[in-house]
């Protein structure tokens, strides 16, 4: 660990500390000969500027915190990459924090920004503790993926309703009529939007919604399994299933198989997110792709805009989604209607 300071370098090179600082930060503002002397001294003393002193002096850390709902979810990894790439290019660093749906932790991270441990916060938690949401002067915060109704914060998100319609329209075009929706946690806006899209797609096709076909989940694998168990126990008939996350889709597929239902021959399945789960699914999962790198990048761009003093657009940015067609969706076979009714339960 080097312990030399700008002062020792200055002395060694026979110049002032200001010249050393300039030679390093704005080399063109220093005569070449002087610059060389300074650089030689820097090398000789193995000088490394103390970032804390620099940040303190500049009153900025050039660090932002990315706070996610649950870091165990691989979904966030690409978001991080998008944020990090944009940040890196602009000379910022990213600190990823795990909120664990815990108010105290969220407050802790907001507090870090208050204390100037970081310049801003990118929030992907879906909510803010009430004490903060109504605080008069919040530090720089960008909301990504989620929507926080109570607070008026710059937001990057997808159109969840339109995305869900894309998925369900696809199933309807294939000829499916009895389509299950495995929802995310309600009444959060993200999950609610997707359910609206499901209902809208049915309505547009003149299909009456059947409450039996809506099953509540929480995005996790286990709730996909549980959803299918529930459907089969109730002997609900269906030929397709739209899950609001890839993880639930995988859970559902595994459970369907365990009960002798083939995917896609007996049941078509569409997921949501296009995470690594879709890749390891067998057959590969048809799903809605969220461009996570882009979402992360855009969020960081908004943040940089705020931090550099430019006003952010109060209206949120909306990122497109794609329907990715893979192996889990085919037209329904009529025999399976009967099959679905007769072989319910375990």
């Amino acid at each position: 660990m080097s312990t030399s300071t700008i002062r020792s370098v200055a002395k060694y090179a026979g110049v002032s500390t200001a010249t050393v600082s300039r030679a390093l930060a704005t080399p063109e503002a220093v005569r070449p000969g002087t610059r060389e002397k300074v650089l030689a001294a820097v090398a000789a003393l193995n000088f490394v500027p103390n970032a804390q002193a620099v940040q303190f002096r500049r009153q900025a850390t050039r660090t932002v915190i990315l706070l996610v709902r649950d870091i165990s979810n691989p979904f966030y990894l690409d978001i991080y990459k998008g944020v990090e790439e944009t940040a890196f290019a602009a000379g910022y660093r990213v600190l990823m924090g795990d909120a664990r749906s815990d108010a105290a932790r969220i407050e802790h991270y907001v507090e870090m920004v208050r204390r100037r441990q970081a310049d801003g916060l990118i929030l992907m938690t879906g909510w803010l503790p009430p004490s903060l949401a109504m605080a008069p002067a919040l530090p720089p915060i960008i909301v990504a993926l989620e929507f926080i109704p109570q607070a008026d914060l710059p937001t990057v998100m997808i159109d969840n309703e339109a995305a869900a319609r894309l998925a369900v329209d696809h199933l309807i075009r294939l000829g499916h009529r009895r389509i299950v929706h495995l929802t995310g946690p309600l009444p959060e806006p993200m999950s609610a939007g997707r359910h609206q899209g499901y209902l809208a797609a049915l309505a547009a096709a003149g299909i009456a919604p059947d409450p039996d076909l809506t099953v509540y989940g929480d995005f996790h694998v286990a709730s996909g399994r549980a959803g299918v168990v529930n459907l089969l126990a109730r002997r609900v008939s269906f030929t397709a299933l739209f899950a609001s996350s890839d993880a639930m889709a995988i859970g559902a597929i595994n459970e369907l198989r365990a009960h002798g239902r083939r995917v896609p021959e007996d049941v078509s399945v569409v997921g949501f997110d296009d995470t690594v789960f879709a890749e390891v699914s067998d057959p590969p999962l048809t799903t809605i792709r969220q461009h996570r790198r882009e979402i992360g990048g855009k969020a960081m761009e908004l943040m940089i805009g705020i931090l550099s003093g430019r006003k952010p657009k109060p209206a949120g940015i909306c990122v497109e989604v794609d329907l990715v067609l893979r192996g889990t969706t085919i037209p329904p076979a009529h025999v399976h209607q009967r099959h679905a009714i007769s072989s319910g339960g375990t």
Copy 2:
């Protein structure tokens, strides 16, 4: 955002800045009446200490960087949790960085520590750029999971050889003799250790190793698929497969199925890591569980030891692993030997 300083609080409370500082840091060193006045002023002015100033003054950030090989790998998430929990409890923060197997990025993060942006570095990259590995005075670095032969750094790891033996012994006890090893990237110590364990298990059972049964992978799903394609194209006969990562195991299972081989009826499979992949596998994957939270926690403990001045044990810590029995391993059926030979290729 509060903009008040300790000075404004002092003025408001009618005391000196030193008293404010003490009232906040060591309340018992201040008379109760004075303390109340200060606290009232703090509340009135919405004062929040500037962390940059504090860190600068203290010459410590209480932040450590966790640098991983590839953040896209869900494997690291639980490690992060383990590190973060231990760090949080000790008043430290964790910055997770993504090395992307890129020397420049690794250097960048080491440089951050040099610049005192962080107090230390927990390295899970498997290697250090040569320029650093032989540097005279490295900043506080802990190596986790991996082993860096060139540098003498405190290390937390598992016994890869013993872990692999656990997996292969299990297959041998079930009666398997023709066991494939799908390796990690060689010649990295982690992958080499697992291959040694595979060979040692065979040797202990008196089974002659067959070079045809060793297939080279890189831990990713795709290399699991490719490995199976390779084996089938060469018409190698085998009844079991040990993959050095769960991801490769999943890739291998999917590819085996695509070629009409059932798992576990035709081929038993054991993975390594016990990640989320093992959970979504169908049937659930028999695998070697690494206690990732514990590994992360221990690494952070070592780091705290170094940073608080206590000498770390030069000898590394070794964390146990478990064999988790699930649904992908059963005894071999003799008919499958013939089957494996006759139906090779696509």
